[in-house]
């Protein structure tokens, strides 16, 4: 596979997390939030796992019913959107084979294929604007609760 066909998450500008099958992504630079579900979340896992577009399509065809061309288009569109949004960038350095998800999978029997649904990249561009819109009464217009943006906190910590 050509190295230019591999992508990586645009860190440190982008953070992401899989939450109950949904990928939530934040572009810290733009303050935009994104969400991927279903086939979108699956493609995301393959993309950041270092698989190329043909490899992703091959993998999806083992799991979903659908026209190869439709699936190819869907994968290319998704990768294009992720690039446009600055979420992923081409991985110029490339990755070694042991760092990548395998492109080919061996079938261990009959798999009931699901119908392929076109993935959607949901986007929320106003999350942080809304924080500024109605600041809590005893704080200032820079928003609530006036924390430095982009500083992740310990999981489970509450706003006290």
């Amino acid at each position: 596979m050509e190295k230019s066909n591999q992508f990586r998450v645009n860190t440190p500008r982008v953070i992401h997390e899989m939450i109950d099958g949904e990928v939530i992504i934040v572009n810290l630079e733009k303050g935009h939030y994104y969400s991927l579900l279903g086939t979108g979340a699956e493609i995301w896992e393959y993309v950041i796992g270092g698989m190329s577009t043909p490899e992703i399509v091959s993998r999806l065809l083992t799991r979903y019913e659908g026209d190869r061309k439709d699936i190819e288009d869907a994968v290319e569109n998704m990768i294009s959107k992720l690039q446009t949004e600055g979420i992923i960038v081409q991985d110029v350095a490339g990755r070694d084979a042991d760092e990548r998800l395998a492109g080919e999978v061996e079938s261990d029997g009959e798999i009931t294929k699901k119908v392929f649904t076109i993935p959607v990249l949901e986007k929320y561009t106003d999350m942080e604007d809304l924080l500024l819109l109605d600041p809590i009464h005893e704080t200032d217009e820079t928003g609530w609760p006036n924390m430095a943006l982009g500083v992740p906190e310990e999981e489970g910590q509450i706003d006290r």
């Binding site: 953070i15 992401h16 997390e17 939450i19 109950d20 939530i24 934040v26 810290l28 939030y33 969400s35 949901e122 986007k123 929320y124 561009t125 106003d126 999350m127 942080e128 604007d129 809304l130 924080l131 819109l133 109605d134 600041p135 809590i136 009464h137 005893e138 704080t139 200032d140 217009e141 928003g143 609530w144 609760p145 924390m147 943006l149 982009g150 500083v151 992740p152 906190e153 999981e155 489970g156 910590q157 509450i158 706003d159 006290r160």
Partner: protein, 370 residues
């Protein structure tokens, strides 16, 4: 009816929405509705599970997760919202839209799907309500939307025209039981400003207007109630204008104390330089028979009838504010007449029973039609 009441802030935090909610929820419980409140911790050390006068409260770090861009915390919040929806099984969700808490509602719409009544308290003039926004998705997900003023409605229609088909204005209600107006005096005119001391509230304009007023009425004094990031700047402005003997900063006070302070004032001024949706202080002042001088901004034009219950003036103009306040100080009888007219208007247009009746009707309609 089981109602999930989602509000970014709630008791013991007491801002305008929260103070209103504390009266609203018991009144709606009396109409047979059962509530569960979902809110944030509001930067306080509070329990995640709580109860306030029989109203169950669940708190999650909703806003902290977003402002800190903390994805694991966001995950907990989404899971928490989903868990409450699946266990409480509401017949209706009543969402108070003030901060991006609605993101968590939108993300969990599929869990125990129930109709949503959305209440807008804010003018969204410069916002985008496209499908790529929390605001846009929240507006689209709502089965019905109420706005606190025509100003908010007009603004919402601009950003999302379709909302006009399924929305209505419901003015906040004023509960006037037990609050009686004290007579206006004007022997030593007391001018009052109440609100957060932040730039958009325009208290710097009021101080400049007061400097002109004191030249004409040396006995006049100004009381500013509230706190905020502009306080030091405003205090310096008072010193620069040599007004320190006539201007007092009372700091933040409990909302229950505000009516007493209003009752000691002769004129209440709301100098906002932004479209203030429906400032409670203007309603309280009218209810207590005080003429209000306010900027012609946002919902203030719906509270004050210019020349009859107070004066509406161009924002950003200290001279206009001065002239209006000065007129009232010079014409106490007319000011008293305006105060009486203001009280009558607030009771008629912003009454409590009308408010509760409106929401009771809407709850049933939205739940049944959906």
């Amino acid at each position: 009816m089981r109602v999930l009441y989602i509000s970014a802030f709630f008791w013991p935090h007491l801002g305008g929405i929260e103070t209103l909610s504390l009266k609203f929820l018991p009144a709606m419980q009396d109409r047979g509705h059962q509530f569960m409140v979902i809110t944030s911790f509001a930067n306080r050390d509070l329990p995640a599970h709580d109860d306030h006068d029989g109203i169950l409260i669940r708190r999650f770090p909703f806003l902290k997760a977003i402002s800190g861009r903390n994805l694991p915390l966001m995950r907990k919040c989404i899971q928490g919202m989903a868990e409450v929806k699946s266990t409480f099984k509401p017949d209706l969700v009543h969402l108070q839209m003030s901060a991006p808490i609605s993101y968590y509602h939108v993300k969990t719409l599929h869990v125990n799907p129930s109709p949503t009544l959305l209440t807008l308290h804010t003018c969204f003039g410069e916002f985008d309500a496209g499908v790529d926004t929390v605001l846009g998705q929240t507006l689209r997900a709502a089965n019905w939307t109420t706005m606190v003023s025509e100003a908010v409605m007009s603004d919402a229609v601009k950003v999302y025209p379709e909302i006009s088909k399924r929305s209505s204005v419901v003015y906040n209600g004023m509960d006037y039981a037990g609050i009686s107006p004290e007579p206006l005096d004007f022997s030593q005119p007391c001018v009052l400003g109440v609100g957060r001391l932040i730039r958009r509230k325009g208290f710097d304009i009021l101080i400049n207007a007061f400097a002109l007023l004191r030249d004409r009425f040396p006995q006049a004094h100004l009381l500013l109630v509230g706190d905020g990031t502009e306080r030091k700047i405003l205090e310096q402005q008072v010193l620069d204008l040599d007004l320190q003997d006539s201007v007092r900063f009372a700091g933040q006070v409990h909302p229950q104390q505000v009516p007493n302070l209003i009752n000691k004032a002769d004129v209440v001024v709301v100098p906002s330089r932004f479209p203030d949706p429906l400032p409670t202080v203007a309603l309280e002042a009218g209810l207590l028979g005080r003429p209000v001088v306010a900027a012609r901004m946002g919902g203030l034009g719906e509270i004050i009838v210019d020349g009859k219950t107070g004066f509406l003036v161009d924002p950003e103009s200290p001279r206009n504010f001065f002239e209006a306040i000065s007129y009232l100080c010079s014409h106490p009888q007319e000011a008293m007449k305006m105060g009486r007219a203001a009280r009558s208007r607030i009771k008629n247009v912003f009454g409590w029973d009308r408010y509760i009746d409106s929401y009771d009707t809407l709850y049933h309609r939205v739940a049944n039609e959906s």
